[in-house]
């Protein structure tokens, strides 16, 4: 394949990856930003989203397009509710102590993973995409659904941005992020903000999974890669900085697409990890993180 089309395909793949990554990582970043909790179970919320999407599309008697849309609504709600419960029954009881919550979310990771294994099984199961459209370029074909994923992820991210900047709930969350004690002094119910933030973060991961599941398949071990990549993105972008997370997702997604294609996917992972190391050494707060 000639250089031009080659680069074009690499950029297409990179954009899809960046979009999904941004959606997954923004949830992780939000949870850390507001709650100062490093959520190691974030990848499992992603996996639960995909598994829920399979259950919804499999058991509700809708055609694929409607079933998928239903999954896009139901999966984030279900996963958000599970996260809410995890916050109320686990994290709150640990008083959000940073070390204790890391260990607790590691435990949560295994509980969620094994629960999925028990009730969903060890198989990878496909979810039908809402539509089958293949774009035929002169050099190669490409899935129209993948481009739709980019669009949908963009819309959801726009929604998150509007929620954070234009609504009262968003204002309350930002206030809690800046100073939890002052927020409490002003009568903000911080417990509810925390539970809501944790649920929102998980719901975003679940939404990303519903977008990706027609491309991949729902599998109980699928949470590992998104978790790793989300951490890479969030560390590079600056923990808690939403803008940084977006920029880092674009950098990692596009560079992964291009490097994977022109060299090898393994090299792309090596470079991303190296980038994390460099950021941690020279700019520990991340590209857009505030110094603390």
């Amino acid at each position: 394949m000639a250089f031009g089309p080659f680069l074009f395909l690499a950029l297409l793949e990179g954009t899809v990856m960046a979009a999904v990554l941004a959606l997954t990582a923004i949830g992780l970043s939000l949870v850390f930003g507001v709650m100062r909790v490093v959520n190691v179970a974030h990848g499992e919320f992603f996996m639960l989203g995909a598994v829920t999407a399979w259950f919804v599309t499999h058991y509700l008697p809708f055609p694929p397009a409607i079933g998928w849309l239903a999954a896009l609504l139901i999966a984030p709600l279900v996963v958000g509710a599970i996260a809410w419960l995890a916050d109320v029954f686990v994290l709150k009881r640990l008083k959000y102590d940073p070390e204790a919550t890391i260990v607790a979310t590691i435990g949560l990771l295994y509980i969620l993973q094994q629960t999925a294994l028990t009730f969903y099984g060890p198989d990878a199961r496909p979810v039908e995409p809402p539509f089958n459209l293949r774009l035929q370029f002169p050099w190669f074909g490409y899935s129209g659904y993948k481009l739709f994923v980019v669009l949908a992820a963009g819309l959801i991210l726009l929604g998150v941005w509007a929620f954070m900047t234009r609504t009262k709930a968003g204002l309350v969350m930002r206030a809690t992020q800046v100073d939890m004690e002052t927020a409490r002094a002003f009568g903000i119910n911080v417990d509810r903000v925390y539970a809501g933030t944790f649920a929102l973060g998980a719901a975003l991961a679940a939404a990303a999974a519903v977008l990706i599941v027609p491309i991949q398949q729902a599998h109980y071990l699928m949470g590992h890669d998104p978790l790793l990549l989300s951490f890479i993105v969030v560390i590079i972008g600056g923990l808690g900085s939403l803008r940084g997370t977006l920029v880092a997702a674009l950098i990692i997604g596009l560079s992964d697409g291009v490097i994977s294609m022109f060299f090898s996917p393994t090299l792309a992972k090596i470079i991303a990890t190296l980038l994390v190391a460099l950021v941690l050494v020279f700019r520990p707060q991340g590209l857009f993180g505030a110094k603390t």
Binding site: L9, P122, D123, A124, F140, S143, Q217, S260, M261
Partner: protein, 426 residues
């Protein structure tokens, strides 16, 4: 006061003697009693992890074969039991599973694993425990001499024999310039090394080799590595993402020009060939170890086997048409269990003390005629390399179904021995 028992007053020494004699007698009696105790076979099962689709069907196949064997009087007149233990398709757990099955559960031998990294990780432990380890992994690692005297592969042909037997047909019918796509671990490396060698020996050329990590979930990024002048695309993929791989391959070529495609059914095991997005496979070819779709000339044994494992004529579960089997591989479990029966009966196997005799009895096996014990077809076992050789099938997708187009002979896959395990000590 002295206690009287039946008018005797036993001294402490007499009581101890009596107890000792009782113990001795019990010791002598025990083996006689144990003959009716079941033979315990350990099954190292990929119930979870990346091999789960295979594991589900391997368990069903083993249960079906077990029923046939027990209904026929068991082994050496004793009933047979199988203990299944999940290894998570993980090499580290593989060794632990064998340890547990042998040391704790007291299994007579262990069999059943497929994934080559698990087999390679587990075989040394089996040798340390001196327990027969019968694998169904296709890897060349058994016949290459990499493993040990306790590890044998009597149920399925290895990759080296498979690919070298089919290469001439591929070169003659599909094209000479080949690009290979394979998983980047031992099993894929066997494909890479031996198919490349066979293609070059046949006057063809492998123009690119694309290695993909077996845990990969997205494949489009690898496809530009397939050169445009490729005449035959050779693909083999494993793991939970195989459907994604084949779908993305279809998206990549779309309605444009594409090379001939020759795939290993591994890329579609447990996946319906009529899934949406796979229409492009029409007219492409697949290797099959055993034909998933019941062929017109299916033997009676084949029909009986299909019914016993609960698979319909399309290769899916009788109870759920969406639950597609790993038909091309799972016969190996059935046949291995029958080889175990034959080996144990030939060696007069009684207890774990006879494990060595069992290995020697299997090593002495040669021709295995097609029968209910060998449902995939006749085979020849090489006792020196611990490897069996069988027929391979090349099928073409016609109307969404795999129809057999070519059958290789046993001789097509034979290669010179690389090892003589029978000269190694136990």
């Amino acid at each position: 006061m002295t206690k009287e028992v039946f008018g005797l007053s036993p001294s402490r020494r007499a009581v101890l003697k009596g107890a000792g004699a009782g113990l001795l007698a019990a010791g002598f009696v025990a083996p006689v009693w144990a003959q009716s105790a079941p033979i315990k076979l350990g099954f190292q099962l990929h119930r979870t992890g990346i091999g789960a689709a295979y594991g589900r069907w391997y368990e069903r196949t083993a249960q079906a074969a077990l029923k046939v064997i027990n209904d026929g009087g068991g082994i050496n007149g004793r009933p047979v039991e199988i203990l299944f233990e999940d290894d998570g398709t993980d090499p580290k757990r593989g060794a632990e599973v064998v340890e547990k099955l042998v040391s704790q559960a007291g299994c007579d031998l262990v069999f059943g694993p497929l994934f080559s990294h698990v087999v390679i990780g587990t075989a040394p432990r089996a040798a340390e425990l001196k327990v027969p380890y019968l694998v169904c992994s296709e890897g060349y690692h058994v016949a290459s001499g990499m493993l040990n005297r306790w590890t044998m592969q009597p149920g399925i042909t290895d990759v080296r024999a498979q690919v070298s037997s089919m290469a001439p047909w591929v070169l003659a019918n599909l094209g000479k310039k080949v690009t290979m796509v394979f998983p980047d671990y031992a099993f894929g490396h066997d494909h890479r090394d031996f198919f490349t060698a066979a293609v070059e020996a046949g006057g063809g050329q492998v123009i690119a080799q694309v290695a993909i990590p077996p845990t990969e979930t997205s494949f489009t990024r690898y496809m530009p590595q397939i050169p445009a002048d490729t005449e035959v695309l050779y693909h083999v993929m494993v793991g939970p993402a195989v459907l994604t791989f084949v779908k993305e391959l279809g998206e990549f070529y779309g309605s444009g020009a594409r090379p001939e495609i020759f795939g290993f059914i591994d890329s579609l095991e447990a996946v319906d060939t009529a899934s949406p997005g796979l229409e492009f496979l029409e007219g492409t070819h697949f290797w099959e170890g055993h034909n998933r779709v019941k062929q017109a000339d299916a033997s009676d044994h084949e029909t009986a086997y299909r019914a016993a494992v609960g698979v319909d004529d399309n290769g899916a579960s009788i109870s759920d048409a969406k639950d597609v089997s790993t038909y091309a591989h799972m016969f190996s479990v059935w046949e291995t269990l029958h080889v175990i029966k034959a080996g144990m009966e030939a060696s007069g196997y009684q207890s774990t003390a006879d494990r060595q005799k069992f290995v020697e009895a299997v090593e002495a096996m040669t021709d295995m005629p097609a029968s209910l014990a060998h449902v995939q077809g006749d085979k020849r076992f090489n006792g020196k390399t611990h490897q069996v050789f069988g027929h391979q099938f090349i099928s073409k997708v016609e109307g969404g179904k795999l129809i057999r187009a070519h059958t290789t002979s046993l001789e097509d896959g034979m290669y010179p021995d690389a090892v003589d395990y029978t000269t190694q000590s136990f």
